[in-house]
Symmetry: C2
Subunit: 196 residues, 2 copies
DNA sequence: TAAAAAACTGACTGAGCGCTCAGTTAACAA
DNA sequence: TTGTTAACTGAGCGCTCAGTCAGTTTTTTA
């Protein structure tokens, strides 16, 4: 029964910020969901923005961690297969951390990052992490010959943009990304494959 | 000096909704920007939501129109080159209608579409229009042999997701999509090209 | 067990903002 | 010119909501 309230607040706020956005999430609602008084929220966090930033920071930490673990604990035959498996892993993560990925797909964080330097840094770290992973895989593929001679960074951005773009179709309820998985891997392979 | 106020309101609101989002756009601001009294805004539009929907509807009309004109006024050698040129055209449109594309990349419309049927229809029309264009081009490419045997609809979604995903990098200030243009076309060609 | 510190409470505040309405001005028709 | 309608105005109402604060409860420390 210790420090529980603070964690409960973080959990509820994460969910609400993701589903309803920053502006539409009200302290009264977090209070009701957690049983903590509104005053308690402001006891732990100076203001709404600080609460949001705390959540973003924790998300950054855990996503960087997960990706690090993924590359450390796995070995890959070729750079190409590594890239493909990273797409799967990314989609898997997006599913298991659904609410926080939704947060990333909202405008809230990007707006905040214009006035808050720490916010900008968290966002940058998250995106850099993901693009870096793809870039490394492509770089490796170029060395082992499974991937052709292309600009690693730029194509990494293209691949990441493609995967993330599809994820948004899901988020917005426009299409079920799951049914596009095979085509996604197919497209990735086509782009990267060394065809000499 | 006729009906000007209404148009001024629509223009100012389009810009503000795009840049600041639905919630963060206040009637007082639209009023100040246009010189129209707040009451005037509510004289022309019953409420804020109706103002937003009017803008979304006009956007739908003009984008459907532009794409129709594009396919009618151009002829293409192959389905593959048609697809490539459509990507260019899409990026070109995103530039010339920058604010309204920003509107599309926000959550506002998707949130509204959950309670407003007309809003849902507008969004669906816009996205269908774009994916349909790509699908047609791919279909044509399959017939003329420039594109391999793939699922037109699904790959159209992938291509669209890829292009739109890159556009977001721009929007969010994460990367300059312009420098990725060559890679984008390269990726598209790789995915589609008939390699039999 | 007493004192101090930390955690928590909820009624209250004040600013913000969508929207109304009673009235004024401009445009047009007879 | 007069009557009628459409366009326009802005003070103000009612409500929402982030944040405060004086006080209570729980935990820790000595």
């Amino acid at each position: 029964m210790k420090i529980k309230k603070k964690d409960a607040i973080l959990n509820a706020a994460t969910h609400l910020f993701s589903v309803k956005g920053f502006k539409d999430t009200h302290m009264a609602e977090i209070s009701k969901l957690t049983g903590a008084a509104e005053g308690t929220i402001f006891y732990h966090f100076n203001n709404k923005e600080e609460l949001f930033l705390t959540i973003l920071n924790e998300f950054k930490e855990s996503i960087l961690n997960e990706f690090k673990k993924f590359t450390e604990e796995n070995t890959f035959e070729t750079g190409l297969s590594m890239t493909e498996e990273m797409i799967s892993f990314y989609l898997h993560m997006a599913q298991s951390m659904e609410d926080r990925f939704l947060l990333l797909h909202r405008h809230d964080a990007y707006e905040l990052s214009q006035t808050s330097e720490p916010c900008r840094q968290h966002l940058e770290a998250i995106y850099n992490c993901m693009v870096d992973m793809f870039e490394n895989a492509i770089e490796q593929g170029k060395k082992d010959g499974s991937i052709g001679d292309i600009s690693s960074r730029k194509v990494a951005m293209i691949i990441f943009g493609m995967v993330d773009g599809l994820l948004r179709f899901n988020t917005y309820g426009l299409y079920d990304a799951g049914t596009l998985f095979n085509e996604l891997i197919y497209a990735c392979r086509k782009i990267l494959k060394n065809d000499r």
